[in-house]
């Protein structure tokens, strides 16, 4: 019998993949509500089928389709994500274990997140985009049984910031051209992006802010 108390916020392995517990409803048979970190999908299970993992420095994992490495000694910058692995909230703060928040301001004692929580430097690990070579991948509990190659998943990660990756319907304006060109993304195949008006360019080129500038997306509002 497994006597393990699952708590909100813990990282756990479920079906060999890394999940985060976002809720525990003790009265139910399936009492553990999980969110899969890789794609933020929701799952439900019981305490016996999960196994706890405590994230530490130099671990790398995929969060919302992008890969990050946890670092302790690096200074965060505004816009970076942090994993609050050692929460010591002040009386008026509102955050808990393993929450992932965006840094808004940095001062000598800690950072202030976009949710306006004051978090001391000792309370979090910085999530640095990309999988560092010296890192320890924690996406799967048992690497051997995974057919999928981690390097392959890495190539799928086009850009660490979701706001900067291409979506259907995005309207871009060409910057290094005298004639005004504004075009909408109508199709994406692999790394090739098809824009309205028959333009066909590589993803890297579209992401180069000197050449193309994102305007707006009429479908996202």
């Amino acid at each position: 019998m497994k006597l393990f108390q699952v708590r909100k916020g813990q990282f756990v392995y479920f079906n060999n993949e890394l999940h985060k517990v976002y809720g525990v409803k003790p009265m139910y048979k399936l009492s553990i509500h999980l969110i899969k970190l890789r794609d933020l999908s929701q799952h439900i299970t019981n305490a016996a089928s999960v196994e706890r993992y405590i994230p530490r420095e130099d671990d790398s994992f995929i969060f919302n389709h992008k890969v990050y490495t946890l670092r302790n000694n690096q200074k965060p910058a505004a816009g970076d994500l942090i994993l609050i692995n050692n929460p010591v909230p002040d009386t008026l703060d509102h955050y808990s274990l393993n929450e992932i928040e965006t840094v808004e301001k940095i001062d000598s004692k800690g950072v202030i997140t976009s949710d306006l929580n004051g978090i001391k430097h000792s309370e979090y690990l910085l999530m640095v985009p990309g999988r560092a070579p010296d890192s320890h991948p924690i996406d799967y509990k048992d690497m051997a049984s995974v057919d999928e190659n981690l390097d392959e998943t890495e190539t799928q990660i086009i850009h660490p910031y979701s706001d900067l990756s291409v979506q259907l319907g995005d309207v871009y304006k060409k910057k290094d051209h005298d004639v005004l060109i504004e075009a909408m993304v109508v199709a994406i195949r692999g790394h090739t992006v098809f824009l309205g008006g028959g333009l066909e360019i590589q993803h890297e080129e579209l992401m180069n802010t000197d050449m193309w500038e994102f305007q707006y997306n009429p479908f996202n509002n």
Binding site: V88, L92, H94, D107
Partner: protein
């Protein structure tokens, strides 16, 4: 000292210095302090009463205006921000923060004291009982919550929508611009800290007095000044430990427990006490309160004596104002993601109903015991020993020892949570509105606020507590009036942003 370092910490150093001067004055020249506070007290009756009455009524009108104004749909935070707390627990937290120790302290004492010495008319009569309940509703009703609405809304709005630091001076950004970071802004912050220290010290003083009385009633420990000071010292040590060991998470559970226990005690009294009378009192007094609202709000008695008004109405208004930066900061913190309309309903209307209900349960039952039974001796006894009032009242009800123990637990928990949260708020205010106040500064404020409470108790107990907060809150009352105008200006600019956003969506 390094000039730059001084500039950075000037708010902390100057406000600490001011408070220390006061503590030294009170500890070593106690007679002189009593003399001066008495002079201030008398002066406040003659010269300052109208300032408090006028500004507080203005806050009520201003809050109600906001409720119906075009600004009602502005959300505190980002446009699509979700509230952090469910509506139920949000309301419970607001209620607990705003009233805390005070509501347990005064809920029996105030109606009964008014009943023995009413503001007008003869004491110990049915009319006196009505008047007593009416004025209790008045002192705990819309006015305090309007003060909190104004300051909480200003703090929340400038913090979440304008992304300014969490300090009182941020609320003056539309008027002062970048001067909020200069001497004017710092003066505002220093005055607000000074008022807050006294507001908190008053509450801690009342709390310590009541905890001591509670221990006297339950365990037979002597009810003396020495024990009150011991309570303050033990409380200080406890929350310093909690700051240093990360037990602060426990404080959160404690404050939730206090709110739940308060509700339990209220429901228990409703069951074992005269429930029907309580319901009648609630309806009857609500009617009286609404119909005499303006009369009470501006009542100054110019051709008679003003002592009653000074020692009750003015004291309460001053106490609420002194207490406001603390509660305002708390309210702002838990209200992210609410719209302004929700905010005003949640901070002004619901807690007012809640306190009125609470006062009906406690005050109504107590008055029933003293009036219906003609028990005038008991009324005198309660009015003379205010600290013990709630325990004296519990003694007359069934399940009295259970009620006493729960009541004592509620007071003790409120004491420790208020002291703990107060150190955090004072730390934020004195470090330029940072959300990461350092532990050293928090501990300094913890010791200081306890010391102020102790000095005030040594200098003469309740009277000095009341007088000190009347004096310390006055500059802050005026700051609050200006804050309303600043808030209006800020809201106006926000509504333009809202309109602008809509237009750009339609065009694209």
């Amino acid at each position: 000292m390094n000039i730059n370092k001084f500039k950075e910490n000037s708010v902390f150093i100057l406000s600490l210095f001011l408070t220390l001067v006061f503590i030294v004055w009170g500890a070593f020249f106690t007679d002189n302090l009593t003399l001066v506070t008495n002079a201030v007290y008398n002066g406040s009756i003659d010269y300052l009463g109208w300032v408090y009455l006028g500004s507080t009524l203005f806050f009520v009108i201003f809050s109600i205006y906001l409720l119906f104004s075009k600004y009602g749909n502005i959300r505190l935070g980002r446009k699509n921000e979700e509230p952090d707390f469910s509506t139920g627990s949000w309301l419970a937290m607001l209620f607990g923060a705003g009233m805390g120790i005070g509501i347990v302290y005064w809920s029996v004492a105030e109606p009964v004291t008014h009943y023995t010495t009413p503001p007008y008319g003869k004491g110990f009569t049915v009319d006196a009982a009505d008047t007593a309940m009416k004025f209790t509703f008045f002192h705990w009703g819309l006015h305090p919550w309007a003060i909190y609405t104004v300051i909480g809304l200003a703090l929340a709005f400038f913090q979440y929508n304008k992304r300014l630091p969490a300090s009182i001076s941020s609320a003056f950004y539309p008027i002062l611009g970048d001067k909020i970071y200069g001497p004017i802004g710092k003066t505002i912050d220093i005055l607000s800290i000074f008022a807050t220290v006294f507001g908190i010290a008053t509450s801690l003083g009342l709390g310590a007095m009541q905890i001591t009385s509670g221990m006297h009633a339950i365990f037979g420990i002597p009810d003396s000044l020495l024990i009150q000071l011991v309570v303050i010292i033990v409380g200080t040590v406890l929350f310093i430990i909690s700051i240093n060991t990360g037990l602060e998470r426990g404080i959160k559970y404690l404050s939730n427990a206090a709110i739940i226990l308060s509700l339990v005690i209220m429901v228990l009294i409703l069951f074992v006490g005269p429930a029907l009378t309580v319901i009648k009192v609630f309806f009857h007094t609500t009617g009286l309160y609404i119909s005499d609202f303006l009369h009470m709000s501006l009542r100054l008695n110019p051709f008679g004596g003003g002592e009653w008004i000074a020692s009750w109405t003015l004291f309460y208004w001053a106490w609420w104002i002194a207490w406001a930066p603390f509660v305002g900061m708390f309210i702002a913190r838990v209200s992210k993601g609410r719209t302004i309309r929700e905010f005003v309903v949640g901070v002004l209307i619901f807690p007012t109903l809640g306190t009125c209900l609470w006062m009906s349960v406690f005050g109504g039952s107590a008055l029933e015991i003293v009036q219906a039974a003609g028990n005038h001796e008991l009324a005198k006894q309660i009015a003379e020993n205010v600290n013990l009032s709630i325990f004296t009242f519990f003694d007359r009800l069934p399940l009295s020892s259970l009620l006493s123990i729960i009541g004592f637990a509620v007071i003790a928990i409120y004491y420790i949570t208020v002291a703990d949260t107060a150190t955090f708020v004072l730390g934020m205010l004195s470090e330029g509105g940072t959300l990461n106040p350092s532990n050293k500064i928090k501990m300094t404020w913890g010791v200081i606020q306890s010391a102020v409470a102790a000095v005030l108790l040594i200098a003469g107990g309740l009277d000095v507590l009341q007088t000190a907060s009347i004096a310390a809150a006055l500059p802050f009352a005026i700051i609050l009036v200006f804050m309303c105008f600043s808030l209006l200006k800020g809201l106006e600019s926000e509504i333009e942003i809202y309109r602008g956003k809509k237009r750009s969506v339609q065009h694209s």
